[in-house]
């Protein structure tokens, strides 16, 4: 029997196991919440394996249904509103943005807009053309919600519609928001957007076959509601599947890293993990407007030893547009 031409194996062992992790997430996602509802599946082995669920509990799952049984997290297709308010215990999500690598490709913005069905004129993730003064060099600075540990927005909300969770993520419950916009006035990073009219997401949402059917604060923009506020949510709907937020994976330059600060590890879009504390020490990471005391969860690595010229990013720069029609 002749062998087929061998398909070349991927080089990085890490990449393979990241893929496994993704596949595990995908398999888990496909099987839905009912991890136990797979009795008739051919691939059951009868062997039970421990799996970490979203609320920190371990459940037993047939190993045949999980590709990487030791590193799977239960999907969130029916995370209750109470669970969405509390978040994933024992974790603290942080993001690192490497300003040395950003060249304003805007793939992050496109992915975020797409996966959150953003139909307004203000994106949740914006890449700013920053220049502190005429005397200093300009650079590209992607900014998401900073998910502050002392959030000004949460403090001023009169109706408890925006909240800070155990895992550090700040979310919005758009069924409770009264649209007073005090949170927007309070946010010094200008990351919140308002639905001034009906978001009209129907077309965008039906075009995306993968979208989850339920409205949950864990998947912002799904759906957006007229007269309420929206913002970056750090993609908890992806985290629960063991996957990184969309901006992280879509960046062609690995500008973003994301992870659990309690694990002291962040991972970039290519699946490479690094030790967070080491990264911040080596590259002198800092937080934006630290002096305000908001304690953001986003770290920036200074634009030193840039990988690309700043001017290359001007091609895609549009001062007056952040959501492509």
């Amino acid at each position: 029997m002749k062998e087929d031409k061998e398909i070349p194996k991927e080089n990085s062992g890490r990449r393979k196991f990241l893929k496994l992790g993704f596949l595990a997430g995908g398999a888990a996602a496909m099987t839905g919440i009912g991890l136990n509802a797979l009795a008739d599946d051919d691939t059951t082995t009868g062997e039970k394996v421990k799996v970490l669920t979203s609320d920190g509990k371990t459940v037993l799952v047939d190993s045949g249904n999980i590709e990487n049984p030791n590193c799977a997290i239960a999907p969130a297709h029916s995370v209750s509103r109470a669970e969405a308010r509390e978040g994933m215990p024992g974790k603290k999500f942080v993001m690192v943005v490497d300003l040395a690598k950003c060249r304003n490709a805007l793939k992050c913005q496109d992915a975020c807009n797409k996966h959150h069905y953003v139909t307004g004129k203000n994106a949740w993730l914006k890449v700013y053309k920053m220049q502190e003064s005429q005397e200093t060099a300009p650079y590209w600075m992607p900014m998401t919600c900073q998910h502050c540990d002392q959030p000004a927005c949460v403090t001023v909300c009169p109706v408890d519609a925006t909240f800070k969770r155990r895992d550090g993520i700040v979310l919005i419950d758009n069924e409770q928001c009264i649209g007073c916009r005090f949170c927007m006035a309070a946010c010094p990073y200008s990351v919140r957007v308002f639905n001034w009219s009906d978001p009209n997401q129907g077309a965008a949402m039906s075009a995306d076959a993968d979208h989850a059917p339920e409205n949950s604060p864990e998947h912002a923009g799904h759906k957006s509601i007229k007269g309420t506020v929206d913002k970056c949510d750090f993609c908890p709907h992806m985290i629960r599947q063991g996957e990184l937020p969309h901006c992280v994976t879509s960046c062609p330059n690995d500008v973003f890293l994301f992870g659990d600060a309690y694990e002291d590890t962040v991972t970039n879009g290519s699946g490479q993990s690094v030790r967070l504390s080491q990264l911040l020490e080596d590259k002198s990471g800092y937080r934006y407007m630290e002096g305000l005391g908001t304690e953001p969860s986003v770290y920036y690595l200074p634009p030193v030893d840039r990988t690309d010229n700043f001017e290359d990013g001007l091609e895609d720069y549009n001062e007056f547009q952040s959501v492509k029609p």
């Binding site: 203000n122 914006k126 001023v156 928001c177 916009r181 927007m184 309070a186 200008s190 308002f194």
Partner: protein, 437 residues
């Protein structure tokens, strides 16, 4: 007719003449247009305004602040003047109380017009967070409405009883005056309760009014924004409220005096005194303005400098100088002279003060929003500026008309000048029943 009966006939509420009817109908029309515009806003969303993600608060909020500021007149004139027992204040207190009540009610309504989801209004009570300055605002406005109503009502009781008798030929009016007068007879017990209650409410309204203006200021100074994040803002708003409160009182006072021919009761002395109060208020407000605008220019950190430059020489300069010169400098210069405090010139200045005060609040709310810490990028060019849309003008005009309408209706049916009190001061009460003075 006795002197007393003459007095009552002069001060009792009268039917509107043609001007009055036209005035009222005009106000109703403006209110209806406002309501129509609001319904359109509910249907289409607030996209019908010119507010967008950067100028996220606009004239609805500045108009709201304006109403809250005017309501200060209720505590200022009514309480302070009531408590100091100066008899010259008698003709003015009721007008002040009416203006204050109308203003605070409209403040409560105006803020709801700015909400993106007014259908979820109850969330402000069900899910209230005490940490939020808006919750403090909801509480204090509700409290102030109750107190303003009480400080209007208690002194009104004897007059309602008088009107019940005066209108005995009109079944409808007589009945309602009787009901609202709570069977007032002028008995010793009733007087005792009433006197005590007025003293209590007059005392209570002062701290509540000060808290109200301060909490209103804290809606802005609890944020990080340049132009809002100022330690000065609480007292600044209190002083500003004093200015616009007195200004609106003088304006209404003048109009009523003319229409109802009350020159005998609201004399030039009253205008002189109110003019003095106004110039005093303006001087204090000028002091706070200097602290607020001139002082940051001394160190001028970049963000402050950009904001001030916009006000002094930039896009908002015309409005800023109109408000400052027209609303502060000119009033001060005119009113420190007795000639300036004659009724007519004072009335013009008062109108100027009220109009500039409305634009002043606009200047407090809007320019600061156009100077966020992070540069404005990634949004359409029209989002880099703000000017109220037709819907916003319609709705704001509707609220202003509604406030005037409330005042108009109250003036129509309540004695503008307290009858019983005036009669007592003139010593012409029919049965010299003495209650302690």
């Amino acid at each position: 007719m006795t002197k007393y009966e003459e007095l009552v006939a002069e001060l009792a509420p009268r039917k509107f003449n043609k001007m009055g009817v036209i005035w009222t109908i005009g106000l109703v029309v403006v209110v209806l247009i406002g309501i129509a515009a609001y319904i359109d806003q509910i249907i289409k969303g607030q996209i019908v305004t010119d507010m967008r993600d950067y100028v996220l608060w606009g004239v609805y909020i500045s108009n709201f602040v304006f109403f809250v500021a005017i309501s200060f007149v209720g505590s200022l004139t009514a309480a302070i003047l009531r408590l100091t027992n100066k008899t010259w204040r008698t003709p003015l207190v009721r007008i002040a109380e009416i203006i204050a009540l109308a203003a605070i009610i409209m403040a409560g309504i105006t803020i709801v017009l700015d909400m993106g989801r007014p259908d979820r209004l109850l969330n402000l009570f069900i899910h209230a967070r005490l940490q939020s300055p808006i919750t403090w605002d909801v509480i204090i406005i509700s409290t102030y409405i109750a107190i303003s109503a009480l400080i209007l009502y208690f002194p009104l009781l004897p007059d309602l009883a008088i009107l019940k008798d005066y209108f005995k030929d009109n079944a409808f009016l007589s009945k309602w005056y009787r009901i609202l007068s709570l069977k007032w007879e002028g008995s010793t017990l009733q007087w005792a309760i009433q006197k005590k209650s007025i003293k209590v409410v007059a005392l209570l309204i002062i701290p509540v009014a000060l808290i109200l203006q301060t909490v209103d200021a804290w809606l802005f100074s609890t944020t990080f924004r340049i132009g809002w994040d100022s330690t000065n803002l609480g007292p600044y708003f209190i002083a500003g409220a004093m200015v616009v409160g007195v200004g609106s009182l003088i304006s209404v006072m003048f109009v009523l005096r003319k229409s109802y021919k009350l020159e005998k009761y609201i004399t030039e002395l009253h205008f002189d005194k109110m003019g003095q109060l106004l110039v005093f208020a303006c001087l204090i407000y000028l002091y706070f303005n200097i602290n607020e605008y001139l002082l940051p220019a001394f160190t001028a950190p970049k963000a402050e400098e950009a904001h001030l430059q916009e006000l002094f020489t930039g896009h908002y300069a015309p409005m800023f100088w109109f408000v400052t010169i027209g609303g502060l400098i000119i009033p001060i210069l005119v009113l420190i002279f007795p000639k300036g405090r004659k009724p007519f010139p004072l009335f013009i200045i008062a109108i100027l003060v009220v109009v500039t005060s409305w634009w002043k609040r606009y200047l407090i709310v809007v320019p600061a929003l156009l100077h966020p810490f992070v540069p404005i990028q990634g949004v359409p060019e029209s989002w880099h500026s703000y000017f109220p849309s037709l819907h916003e003008w319609a709705i704001v005009s509707g609220t202003l008309a509604a406030a005037l309408l409330i005042i108009t209706i109250l003036i129509r049916y309540l004695p503008i000048i307290p009858i019983h009190r005036t009669a007592k001061e003139m010593g012409i009460l029919p049965n010299e029943k003495s209650e302690e003075s």
